[in-house]
């Protein structure tokens, strides 16, 4: 009984452990299809995630840069654009109760100058990877820092900075990501601000 039991118990299991060649090929085929689907799904999800991430980054960079530029324009007392619309120069009165230029008006002094500048790294505006917008918090003493680091592009036939009515600045620029794997994310900013201080 023991040998018979052992035989009768082991024999079916050995059969279950093995696959026929047909079963194996069928299983391998199914597995391959599933795996291929998973790889494609992961690759697409990854690419999509990269795109979303880059779009988010571009949005943040552009929002931060434009909001900061607008904030400073609103508080400036003079505006000037030069360099074909690439440079915006703003002046500020550091102490509106002190007349530092001796014209009897305390609020119209130009105590310090700030500058925003679109700059390309290689002399060409079309290669966007090295284009950026820099900000200098005091042109007399400070150095420029990157406000919109790289990927900045000029919009077609449009200057980055334009002054209208001597009080309003139009700000136009784009951010573009040239990396193909995340589907070339891009964004355009077209906005404006009016300075609320003056020298009159």
């Amino acid at each position: 009984m023991k040998g018979l039991k052992g035989h009768s118990a082991a024999s079916p299991r050995r059969r279950q452990q093995a696959f026929t060649i047909v079963e194996f090929i069928f299983a391998a085929g199914i597995s391959g299809i599933v795996l291929a689907g998973m790889v494609i799904f992961v690759a697409m999800a990854s690419r999509s995630l990269q795109g979303i991430t880059m779009q988010n980054t571009v949005n943040q960079d552009a929002s931060h840069a434009s909001e900061y530029i607008l904030e400073r324009i609103r508080l400036a007392n003079t505006l000037a654009v030069s360099g074909g619309g690439n440079t915006l120069t703003l002046t500020f009165d550091d102490d509106p109760d002190t007349d530092s230029n001796g014209d009897t008006k305390t609020y119209n002094d130009r105590d310090h100058t700030e500058q925003f500048q679109f700059a390309n790294g290689d002399g060409s505006d079309t290669t966007t990877d090295d284009n950026k917008i820099t900000y200098n918090a005091n042109t007399a003493t400070g150095t420029a820092v990157d406000l919109a680091p790289n990927r900045v592009r000029k919009l077609p036939s449009t200057a980055v900075f334009t002054i209208t009515n001597s009080t309003q600045v139009l700000v136009n620029f784009g951010l573009v990501d040239s990396y193909s794997n995340d589907l070339f994310q891009a964004l355009e900013i077209k906005t404006s601000a009016v300075r609320r201080n003056s020298t009159n």
């Binding site: 118990a9 082991a10 299991r13 995630l49 991430t53 988010n56 980054t57 943040q60 929002s63 931060h64 909001e67 904030e71 609103r74 508080l75 007392n77 009165d93 509106p96 109760d97 009897t104 609020y107 609320r196 201080n197």
Partner: protein, 469 residues
């Protein structure tokens, strides 16, 4: 037993595989979540930064409005601040000193679940001329500050401001003007130009040669929400100037002349400086008129000329002046009457004699009821009270001309110029007539001569922002 052992070891191997896969998946989820959190935090910080600025600017705006209300309402400025209806201000004893006062409050309305702190910084004066509002708002870990600098400025601005109710008459005769209206009567033979608008409670009647642009006129304001307060009624609470303050300044600086003859003696061949007052009594034998015989070089003043009609003058009584009148005179060598680009000014005047400088006079020590003039103040160029100074001769006056009476400005000469650069503020209407060949009559508005007008206390003033930080 062997069989059991074999089955257990296979299960352990499978679990390890599953565990690796789970770790891989969890790791992927964690890294994605980390990225998302990073972006959300960055986005939230940017949003907080923006919201904090907007809350602080909103609170500053509310404080500006409350400051204006406190300054322009009756009763004292600081009492009004303490009883502010939307929330009383409290004195900040830690920041206040003997020279400056700081009042503050917390602003919660109209915000939702957000407060901002506002502070009003002023000089320690019953009628401060400047104030600074500082507001703070914190959102998340971000605190933003807005600072607004405010000054009390004259609330109206135009070349001619007439607060008389006027009449409904439409003509351009002098009698229509005498009813409290503004009349500008030009001629094809002369050049007349009014630059900078006309504000009138009564009517503004002009002819085709008046040089008044129709779109620069606001008339019949009496009884409307835009009515000009009665700035010129000598007994009203709105009267802009206390003439006695100017008389006190003139007395302190040796510029007070009790009759026409003493004024003529002093000014016949000199330019008078500072606040110059001439008392003209109705019974004064010289009160019939002033002419070039009295002032062959004209009346020349740097500062303010106050003609104080006293002793029996009625509102319709007039003193005719045909002598040239130069007060803070401008260089008119390039003047083209119809071209505002050629208008120049002699305002503000410069004083060569410090003893005559009204801005450094200590009036308050001798006359405690009057405040001193401050360096920011705009002083009128010409003032006169009840009675009419009828200006017939050449005039070159830069600064405000103020009178509760009717103003009569008639260019009676041939080829002569009457030039007023500042603002005419009248309580009885104004008549500007220029009919002679080659003559020029110009009235132009200069905001720099009126925005800091040295009115009594806060009369006519509103609070205006002059800088934001």
């Amino acid at each position: 037993m062997n069989i059991r052992t074999f089955r257990v070891s296979r299960q352990q191997g499978s679990i390890l595989g599953y565990y690796i896969i789970v770790l891989f998946v969890l790791g992927a989820i964690a890294s994605v979540a980390g990225l998302v959190v990073q972006h959300v935090q960055f986005s939230k910080r940017r949003s907080d930064r923006k919201n904090a600025l907007e809350y602080s600017e909103g609170a500053a705006l509310i404080a500006c409005q409350e400051l204006n209300k406190a300054y322009t309402n009756s009763s004292s400025f600081f009492t009004n601040l303490l009883s502010n209806s939307a929330g009383g201000y409290a004195k900040n004893t830690a920041l206040s000193t003997s020279a400056q006062l700081v009042y503050g409050r917390s602003v919660s309305a109209p915000f939702s679940n957000q407060t901002a702190q506002v502070q009003i910084w002023t000089t320690n004066s019953t009628s401060p001329t400047k104030a600074r509002i500082v507001s703070y708002a914190s959102v998340g870990s971000i605190t933003r500050t807005s600072t607004v600098y405010m000054a009390m400025s004259f609330g109206f601005g135009a070349a001619i401001i007439s607060d008389a109710p006027g009449s409904a008459a439409a003509g351009i005769s002098k009698s229509v003007a005498q009813n409290g209206n503004v009349v500008v009567d030009g001629s094809s033979k002369s050049s007349t130009f009014v630059n900078g608008g006309v504000l009138a409670n009564g009517r503004v009647n002009v002819n085709a040669y008046s040089g008044v642009a129709t779109n620069s006129v606001s008339q019949t304001l009496y009884g409307t929400s835009s009515e000009i307060p009665d700035y010129t009624d000598e007994s009203s609470a709105d009267q802009l100037f206390d003439f006695n303050r100017f008389i006190a300044a003139a007395k302190l600086s040796g510029n007070y002349y009790s009759n026409v003859s003493s004024f003529v003696t002093a000014g016949k061949s000199n330019t008078l400086e500072g606040i110059v007052v001439v008392d003209i009594s109705k019974s004064d034998s010289s009160a019939k008129g002033i002419d070039s015989g009295d002032f062959p070089n004209g009346i020349n003043v740097r500062g303010t000329l106050l003609v104080n009609f006293s002793g029996g003058w009625a509102a319709s009584d007039k003193l005719v002046n045909t002598a040239a009148m130069n007060i803070n005179a401008a260089n008119l060598s390039g003047l083209v009457a119809t071209n505002p680009a050629t208008y120049t000014t002699g305002y503000p005047p410069t004083f060569s004699n410090p003893a005559k400088n009204p801005y450094t006079l200590d009036i308050k020590s001798s006359y405690p009821q009057f405040d001193n003039f401050s360096a920011d103040d705009d002083l009128p160029a010409l003032m006169y009270n009840i009675g009419i100074l009828d200006i017939h001769g050449p005039a070159n006056v830069c600064g405000v001309v103020y009178s509760p009476s009717f103003m009569e400005i008639e260019n009676k000469g041939t080829g002569t110029t009457q030039y007023f650069n500042g603002s005419l503020i009248t309580g009885g209407g104004v008549y500007i007539d220029n009919g002679n060949s080659g003559s020029k009559s110009v009235v132009t508005f200069d905001p720099k001569a009126i925005d800091k007008l040295a009115t009594s206390g806060s009369k006519g003033k509103t609070v205006q922002v002059y800088y934001r930080k």
